[in-house]
């Protein structure tokens, strides 16, 4: 009985991690993600709802109200 619980827990953990890995798989390599518009240095595409070509303002006090 105890082993059955352990197996069920393990299956849940395994399926959870597999789903998590699959959800990150589509652009999991540096090359594919960087060509997909990600630009870590200026952070332009880091914020949802913001155009990728639109850079974050240097002055965060100005930028934050627009984003949030």
């Amino acid at each position: 009985m105890r082993n059955v619980v352990k197996i069920l827990c393990s299956l849940m953990v395994l399926s959870g991690f597999t789903l998590a890995a699959l959800s990150c798989y589509s652009s999991n390599s540096a090359s594919s993600e960087s060509s997909g518009g990600y630009s870590g240095k200026d952070g332009a595409s880091l914020v949802p709802g913001q155009l990728e070509t639109e850079p974050i303002q240097q002055d965060e006090k100005q930028a934050r109200p627009e984003v949030l």
Binding site: S10, F17, S23, C24, S27, A30
Partner: protein, 148 residues
């Protein structure tokens, strides 16, 4: 170390490792990833936006952004499974402990061979192997089975 303490420590470290990997994804990865659609209405909550804005100023290396989170997640998986089964090994515990690391390593190898889509990355492989090594080291350090 007593079995309950070992299991608790494993689970705790596993959860910490999972949270660390997830926070790297949350802070540094593109919101185009399917995982970000899991948030309500497909949009990040305000706290996550603030976190991403704060992190956007950091200039982190590519391996930190792309390879480390997967390694941390693999370590988390190993530690959580170890926490569930304890350090006394059985066929089932070994099966669960080996299935995901083998799948992860095989995926990288098959990507190198262009059998599955994606780009094989040696840094991903290094992070996976490092995670397995860290897990084996922790297991050796804290295992209660050998001291009986």
């Amino acid at each position: 170390m007593k079995p309950w303490a070992y299991n608790g420590l494993s689970l705790g470290m596993g959860v910490c490792s999972f949270l660390a990997g997830s926070s790297i994804y949350l802070c540094f990865r593109s919101t185009d990833l399917p995982m970000f659609r899991l948030f309500p209405h497909g949009e990040l909550p305000q706290w996550a936006c603030r976190l991403r804005i704060s992190a956007s100023g950091l200039n982190v290396p590519e391996w930190f952004r792309f390879s480390l989170p997967d390694g941390l997640w693999l370590l988390a998986y190993l530690l959580i499974i170890d926490g569930i089964w304890g350090s006394r090994r059985s066929f089932m515990s070994l099966l669960f402990l080996t299935i995901l690391p083998i799948a992860a390593l095989m995926t990288e190898i098959l990507q190198w061979a262009h059998i599955v889509p994606g780009v094989g990355d040696w840094m991903d492989m290094a992070c996976y192997l490092l995670s397995i090594l860290i897990f084996l080291t922790l297991n050796k350090l804290f295992s209660y089975e050998k001291r009986r």
